[in-house]
């Protein structure tokens, strides 16, 4: 296809049956390696819970609010990467991108991390100071703001994500139900398949439902990121008035989602032998939005910076010093390199984009950069002693993570991967029906002096 993987010829493409046989075969026998990884991840997750319990034992008060900075940064990182991944499949399905088919399930399975996000949100909300007397997006809105509304927002995102995951997986659950021998696992899958038989009406509902749920996820995600950044960052830093920051974190989320998808696909190729599904085409195609989001992230950041730089009002100057020039300069530099300079330098080159390693490497950098950026944004905000001031004074010192912080970060990230792996035991990680449908729409024909793919427009 590309990158010397295989040249396009007039030979027959695999059929739907080939794909079903292959994916369900792997799905039936997960192997020792799978259980090895599950054990390691579960251990790390337990360590994270230990870190959380230590943090919890220190309690919640205005004096030790800074202790929760890394916890909130981890929560924001999960929202920015894992929970953002269904946006990729929803967007690509709406755009009818044919190359999406092998990777949609991987991204949708990550919707399960929405449950962990909702659980982590509760202590994060408790750690927040009262909105009385300080600036807030809620403008002293009475009905339980921000807690109730944040839980509703995050809960809605998690619910839509799970509905999307379950709804789109129904045909594959039915295929797994019919393929697996009778067992506890098969019974669970049978129950989850909701009696799917593939009738015309069922397919019509599935198509419409997947588009609707995808569109709702796409619309809810920016809302959740807006809640996150305004409640846990913007409202805690005196003098900060940055209207663009919700858009910046949404773009950072899309960047993180693409980066995490690339990383996941790479690991599945290496560890799960899924080369035939995650080919260069998927890496190449995803590298383009990754470059676009990287440029956009910088542009949004720059729009914010230049406005403050020229404004030079006392509050703005202190904010720039805290987040850009002094205390969190190092974090910004790392993030700047991994989220902008690195992708720009690497991905402008087509040979890098048209490879497996290139986009995967850049994607990994983007994910790390996203983590560092969340630390910069949220740890700094939670370190501010008095959010009710008009101008931040004094600026808080740089806060480094301690042992419980590190345990929480490692544990929460491992927890997300663990959830993904557990879901993959119930729902195949490659969407059999979508890949099969794609194969029916693609033909290889002679075009001028070479073979080319002809893609039918299903709509």
């Amino acid at each position: 296809m590309h990158n010397g993987e295989h040249e396009l010829t007039a030979g027959p493409l695999p059929t739907h049956q080939d794909v079903a046989r292959d994916v369900l075969g792997r799905f039936q026998d997960l192997g020792h390696r799978y259980w090895g990884w599950v054990t390691v991840l579960a251990f790390l997750f337990v360590l994270g819970i230990v870190g959380f319990i230590i943090r919890l034992s220190e309690g919640f008060s205005d004096e030790n609010r800074a202790n929760w900075g890394y916890f909130v940064a981890t929560l924001a990182f999960i929202v920015t990467t894992f929970t953002a991944m269904p946006v990729i499949s929803a967007g690509l399905r709406l755009a009818k991108a044919n190359w999406r088919r092998p990777l949609t399930r991987v991204t949708e399975n990550m919707a399960i991390t929405g449950l962990l996000v909702v659980l982590m949100l509760i202590p994060a909300l408790i750690a927040l100071p009262s909105i009385e007397g300080r600036l807030s997006i809620w403008f002293e809105f009475p009905l339980g703001a921000p807690g109730v509304w944040d839980v509703i927002g995050y809960g809605t995102l998690a619910f839509i994500g799970l509905a999307l995951l379950w709804g789109v997986a129904l045909p594959d659950l039915a295929a797994a139900r019919d393929h697996l021998p009778a067992s506890q696992r098969q019974r669970v899958i049978k129950w989850l398949s909701l009696g799917w038989v593939g009738g015309t009406r069922q397919w019509r509902v599935l198509y419409q439902g997947s588009l609707l749920a995808g569109a709702m996820y796409l619309l809810t995600y920016p809302l959740v990121q807006t809640l996150m950044i305004s409640d846990f960052h913007h409202g805690l830093i005196p003098g900060l008035k940055d209207a663009i920051i919700p858009a910046t974190v949404v773009v950072n989320g899309l960047q993180g989602a693409v980066g995490m998808t690339l990383l996941t696909m790479y690991l599945m190729r290496r560890l799960g032998n899924y080369e035939r599904y995650f080919s260069v085409e998927q890496f190449w195609a995803l590298s383009k939005p990754l470059l676009a989001f990287s440029l956009l992230w910088f542009y949004f950041w720059w729009a914010s910076f230049i406005t403050f730089w020229y404004g030079r009002q006392p509050g703005e100057s202190e904010v720039i010093r805290l987040l850009v020039l002094d205390e969190y300069r190092g974090a910004l530099m790392i993030s700047f390199f991994l989220n902008f300079i690195g992708p720009l330098i690497a991905l402008v080159w087509n040979p890098v984009r048209r490879s497996v390693w290139g986009p995967a490497l850049v994607g990994t950098g983007v994910v790390i950069g996203a983590l560092v950026n969340q630390v910069r944004l949220y740890v700094s905000a939670f370190s501010v002693a008095d959010p009710s001031q008009h101008v931040m004074h004094p600026r808080p010192a740089t806060q480094w993570p301690d042992a419980p912080d590190l345990l929480i970060m490692v544990g929460a990230i491992s927890g997300c991967v663990l959830l993904f792996m557990l879901v993959s035991k119930i729902i195949p990680v490659v969407s059999i029906w979508e890949v099969g449908e794609g194969l029916r729409l693609v033909k290889v024909r002679r075009y001028l002096n070479r073979y080319a793919r002809v893609i039918a427009k299903s709509h």
Binding site: L135, I137, F139, P222, K241, D242, A243, I244, I245, P246, A247, L295, Y299, F300, A303, S304, I306, T307, F308, Y310, G311, Q313, R440, L441, K443, R445, Y447, A452, R453, V454, I455, A456, K457, S458, H459
Partner: protein
């Protein structure tokens, strides 16, 4: 979807070169009318130069009015070219083909018109040179090199140069076609412009590479132009202007108005130039889908601007927004703006029947641009009315007849230039249409034959 009509190369040549190779009477009539309007606007400008800026509605403290609004409006319209042409070319959207040339050309003419606005706004344009360039070397006076009067022309002229290059590069194969069908001096001129194009594989390869490279290189320029215009506002401390979101808000607003203008232009072109074989319902359907996304993103930025304007609860900021939202005539204009820009068009575009109706799309796209013009006016004037805490005049800004004439003249000027362009060059790229025809195919899926497309890469 995109291949309903199969056209031969000869038919494409004949239909797209119709106006280029002969001069229909309707073309003469329309160009004459537009020329008269432009002449009227030029006379109004002459009158204003003679009488001074007192003949406009500008007065203390509002020194930016219709001309600056119109400047931003036309810079916004110019964003259509790159959005349609460069981004859709890079993303290989097949439906781009009939609209790229018109969008690119409109970009160039809209930019030219936008550049005229600050000159007109200066009242006596030569004064701009005093403000921009050093005029007294002995004392080292360089009045204000950091002024927007330096930023904006630099950005716009860069964009104009690259857009013109973009139009020209894509025009070369078509120029060769016209050269081969012309005689006399026209053949000589088109021959020079065609740069010896013969369509050999090397030339096509270079042309393709140039198209892709220019598409990629023009994107940062595209974003920077309206960002810089927005920073004229954003980096000041005028209440409601000192907002970080202004740059992307202006850019996405520009794309919204620019792409809507392309829809208007395409529908008018289709009718006037009888391009039914090239501009189909499917094309405006696809643009309308794009517009739904763009408009919704724009609304998100507008919402951010509004919410964060109220964030610090500063009195002056609140006063400006109160003026915009609750005090006539601004409240009425605000209502018209939001209804025209989003509330009417976007819900209507959700319906496939509307998206595929040329009449509906013509009116809704026009509405968007009425709304977007008002948006710029509402951003500028109320903020200046309450710029300082001490306001000694509470009179509102009223554009004079001279200003209105010049605004109408600017619209006529862009239309006039587009009509002139269409007389000498095809408004739809002939080679792109032919290429599109070559990529058409059909595939049997189940018991149906469905349209298919050869994947370019």
């Amino acid at each position: 979807m995109y291949y309903r009509r199969t056209l031969t190369d000869a038919q494409i040549n004949r239909e797209l070169l119709d106006v280029v190779l002969r001069t229909p009477m309707w073309w003469v009539v329309i160009v004459s009318i537009l020329g008269l309007i432009v002449a009227g606007a030029a006379s109004a400008f002459g009158f204003m130069m003679n009488q001074g800026l007192g003949v406009t509605g500008l007065q203390q403290p509002i020194f930016w009015g219709f001309f600056i609004t119109n400047f931003i409006f036309w810079v916004g319209i110019s964003h259509a070219g790159v959005m349609i042409s460069a981004i859709l070319r890079l993303s290989q959207a097949e439906w781009r083909r009939p609209m790229v040339r018109a969008a690119e050309t409109m970009t160039v003419f809209a930019l030219m018109t936008s550049l005229l606005q600050p000159l007109i706004h200066a009242g006596r344009p030569w004064r701009i040179f005093y403000w921009v360039f050093p005029y007294d070397w002995a004392r080292g006076i360089w009045p204000d090199v950091r002024s927007p009067l330096v930023w904006d022309p630099t950005a716009i002229i860069t964009y104009l140069t690259s857009s013109s290059l973009f139009v020209y590069t894509a025009l070369i194969p078509d120029l060769a076609i016209i050269r081969d069908r012309s005689t006399g001096w026209r053949r000589t001129v088109y021959g020079i412009l065609a740069l010896g194009w013969h369509g050999n594989p090397r030339q096509w390869k270079l042309q393709g590479i140039a198209g892709i490279l220019l598409s990629a290189l023009i994107l940062p320029v595209f974003v920077s132009v309206h960002s810089i215009v927005s920073w004229d506002f954003g980096v000041s401390l005028v209440p409601s202007w000192h907002v970080t979101v202004f740059a992307p808000y202006f850019v996405i607003g520009a794309v919204h108005s620019g792409v809507s203008a392309v829809v208007t232009l395409m529908i008018l072109m289709r009718k006037l130039y009888k391009l039914e074989n090239f501009i189909w319902e499917e094309h405006i359907d696809a643009v309308a889908r794009l517009l739904i996304v763009v408009a919704t993103a724009w609304l998100f930025f507008f919402w951010l601007d509004l919410v964060f304007a109220l964030w610090l609860k500063e009195e002056q900021e609140m006063t400006v927004w109160h003026l915009r939202l609750f005090e006539p005539p601004w409240s009425w204009l605000f209502l018209v703006f939001i209804v025209c820009s989003y509330i009417i068009p976007v819900p209507l575009w959700m319906f496939r029947r509307v998206r595929r109706s040329f009449t509906w799309m013509l009116w809704t796209s026009l509405l968007v641009n009425v709304g977007m013009f008002l948006e710029r006016l509402i951003i500028i004037v109320p903020a200046l009315m309450r710029k300082g805490p001490w306001v000694f005049t509470y009179d509102t800004y009223r554009p004079s007849a001279v200003e209105v004439t010049l605004i109408v003249g600017s619209i006529a000027l862009v239309a006039f230039l587009l009509m002139l362009f269409s007389k000498f060059f095809p408004l739809i790229p002939i080679w792109e249409e032919k290429e599109g025809q070559k990529l058409i195919d059909e595939v049997k899926v189940g018991d149906r034959v469905v349209p298919a497309l050869v994947k370019e890469h």
